[in-house]
């Protein structure tokens, strides 16, 4: 694994809290992350686990009611508490983001070419004309046929997969170092999903850009990710590489996730019982405790920290003693 110094994106104890009339909701409760140049890091978790919020918070894209503490550095630039001006120079330039639903993420009444041009020109001082020809090139790069004509069209004239390609073209317009992909394939057909992942993987290889792949779909992780962080209730509960994630999960929640994906020729699916905790009043100790089949008294005590277990790190006190396996 690459050392700290080479990390393009570093999160340390990042916390996000929303003030609500019923009390503060702690959506992210101390996340650490290191991202090496050119790697794809998968971030997995159920909806509400804080995986998207972590990155939206980092880029300052959350509503004002969000309180963000800790540290988030892009190279050596600190983003937490950064000025609006500094934040804008990072967004879309050094860190880009693509979203789940490409139809609603693009302005429906502006031509896609113009939207890419806007992205380019908000960071580079170039003429409209050369920005426009760059936009056409970008559309070609992400595999959109007839990019010149297509750049004159509106988002609703594209298919779902093509729209997501437009989003990617827009995101890479300023050669960012980090691409944050927030569930980029969730809204797409299965066949199209694979193509989009391929585009992202190719671009990573060509441009040396690091990718954070936020998803709840372990299939996506298996296909593209190098390393994985599993999140639950606003915390990272397991950090590992993609091989040991599937072979030797070290956290009961990871095991639960793996058991709830269908595998041909194997026993019935086993869903994780219950639902994610209410973040207004998260359970004491390990947040997964109420749903965990292995939970003991001691799990209710201190919040378990990530500890190395083999090739992985796990935030389960019983990680060493449990012999978690997926395919029994």
């Amino acid at each position: 694994m690459t050392g700290e110094a080479a990390s393009v994106l570093t999160l340390r104890d990042l916390r996000v809290q929303f003030g609500t009339p019923n009390g503060p909701v702690k959506a992210v409760r101390g996340v650490d992350l290191d991202l090496a140049p050119g790697e794809i890091l998968g971030v997995v978790g159920e909806s509400g686990s804080g995986k998207s919020v972590t990155f939206l918070a980092m880029l300052g894209l959350l509503p004002k009611s969000a309180e963000i503490t800790g540290s988030a550095k892009v190279n050596d630039t600190e983003l937490v508490g950064a000025s609006n001006r500094l934040m804008r120079s990072i967004r879309g330039r050094r860190v880009s983001m693509i979203f789940q639903d490409p139809l609603s993420a693009l302005n429906p009444v502006r031509r896609v070419g113009d939207q890419i041009v806007e992205m380019i020109r908000s960071h580079q001082d170039i003429s409209k004309k050369s920005a426009a020809s760059r936009a056409v090139d970008l559309l070609g790069t992400v595999g959109i046929p007839q990019p010149l004509q297509r750049s004159e069209q509106y988002p609703h004239e594209f298919s779902g997969g093509m729209r997501q390609r437009v989003m990617i073209a827009m995101a890479i317009a300023n050669d960012p170092q980090v691409l944050i992909a927030d569930e980029p394939t969730t809204a797409l057909d299965v066949t199209v999903q694979a193509q989009i992942l391929e585009v992202i993987d190719d671009l990573r290889a060509q441009m040396g850009m690091a990718v954070v792949m936020i998803t709840h779909d372990l299939g996506v992780i298996a296909r593209v990710a190098d390393r994985v962080q599993v999140m639950y209730a606003g915390r990272v509960v397991e950090k590992t590489n993609v091989e040991s994630l599937f072979a030797n999960p070290t956290h009961p929640y990871t095991e639960g996730l793996l058991r709830s994906i269908p595998v041909l020729g194997h026993q019935r699916l086993i869903p994780i019982p219950g639902s994610p905790p209410n973040m207004l009043r998260p359970p004491s100790g390990c947040a997964f405790r109420p749903r965990c089949p292995y939970a003991l008294e001691e799990c209710a005590g201190e919040v378990p920290a990530l500890e190395p277990v083999g090739a992985s790190e796990s935030a389960c006190v019983r990680a060493e003693s449990l012999n978690l396996r997926v395919l029994t």
Partner: protein
């Protein structure tokens, strides 16, 4: 709880309860309220709507029992002309709100006038809501040519300057002599209710249609269709109950719209002449015209004030109802 099959049969865990009783662990509110109770709770939280409800309720009681609350008869002078000039008296103890051009008490006449006007408003509102909700539901549900035609027709109709359109329609239906036994003479209260309803149902229809279009996409309507429910049944037992919020809001808009429209018509001399036994707010508001130019301020302030008070109360009630039937309001507050 007992119907659950344990999923991790071979695993160690303390008890089923701990495993499954997630709601308790999460500290979720398990207190359940029906949608109607929730709506009522949201309505009560809208302070202006609550105040308006009481003010409007008070006004309704006063006008229903107008003979009790009024100080003089509707056409009675405060004192006979033989005892001195009684016209255009400023507000004073014999006439709290002053007197009009023939010495009648404005306060008492306002009570009787509001009685007629609130009746016109509510009657118009009910007729328009029934017609509008039905047409809107059918149009939204059927879609296609019928829907296009209706929307286009009402669009054009509502785009006409209101006063021009209503005066033309008033003369037109007043000129159809075969209608007279049903809707009465052009100057009757019954006629004005029908006239206003002709205009008011369209607004309601558009609101209900919008609601139906969004409900139509929802699964329970699909499901009802799939099991072969008739259109009538879908409208009566699914669409109308689920549109009750927007319909009630439309009703309040229609009621106040009708009251204001009646006043406007009367202001230009096209209003009802409710016989010797009554008057309407419009007939009193008409006084403000001369009142303004001659400087008789009480003839402007009290009738117009009564109209604006009614408008604000009913609008606030509508606003409260809109919040009450909007589940998003819980998250926002």
């Amino acid at each position: 709880m007992t119907s659950y099959q344990p999923v991790h049969e071979s695993r160690e865990f303390e008890s089923f309860d701990e495993l499954y009783d997630v709601s308790e662990q999460e500290g979720l509110d398990v207190q359940t309220l029906t949608p109607r109770q929730l709506a009522w709770r949201r309505y009560r939280r809208h302070k202006a709507a609550m105040v308006s409800t009481f003010v409007f309720g008070g006004l309704v009681i006063m006008v229903v029992f107008a003979p009790v609350f009024a100080r003089y008869g509707v056409n009675e002078a405060v004192f006979p002309i033989s005892e001195g000039p009684n016209q255009f008296l400023e507000p004073q103890s014999v006439a709290w709100f002053g007197t009009d051009d023939i010495g009648r008490d404005i306060y008492s006449r306002l009570l009787y006038g509001m009685r007629t006007s609130i009746f016109i408003g509510v009657a118009t509102g009910i007729i328009a809501t029934i017609i509008g909700a039905t047409v809107g539901a059918i149009s939204g549900l059927r879609g296609g040519k019928l829907d296009d035609g209706m929307m286009r027709g009402t669009d054009v109709f509502l785009a006409f300057p209101f006063l021009v359109a209503i005066i033309v329609v008033r003369e037109f239906i007043g000129g159809l002599s075969f209608l007279e036994p049903v809707i009465g003479d052009k100057t009757s209260v019954r006629f004005i209710i029908f006239l206003l309803a002709i205009f008011a149902w369209m607004g309601v229809a558009r609101i209900v249609r919008g609601q139906v279009l969004s409900l139509k996409e929802r699964e329970f309507i699909e499901a009802a269709r799939a099991v072969g429910a008739s259109e009538r049944r879908i409208i009566m037992s699914h669409l109308i109950p689920n549109s009750i919020g927007p319909i009630l809001v439309a009703l309040t808009i229609t009621v106040i719209g009708a009251i204001v429209a009646e006043s406007t018509l009367a202001f230009f001399g096209f209003g009802p002449q409710p016989g010797s036994g009554g008057t309407s707010l419009g007939n009193l508001v008409l006084l403000s015209r001369g009142g303004a130019t001659q400087g008789n301020w009480w003839l402007v302030v009290f009738p117009c004030g009564a109209l604006v008070l009614l408008a604000i109360c009913i609008n606030f009630i509508g606003d409260g109802l809109r919040d009450a039937f909007d589940p998003k309001m819980d998250a926002a507050k």
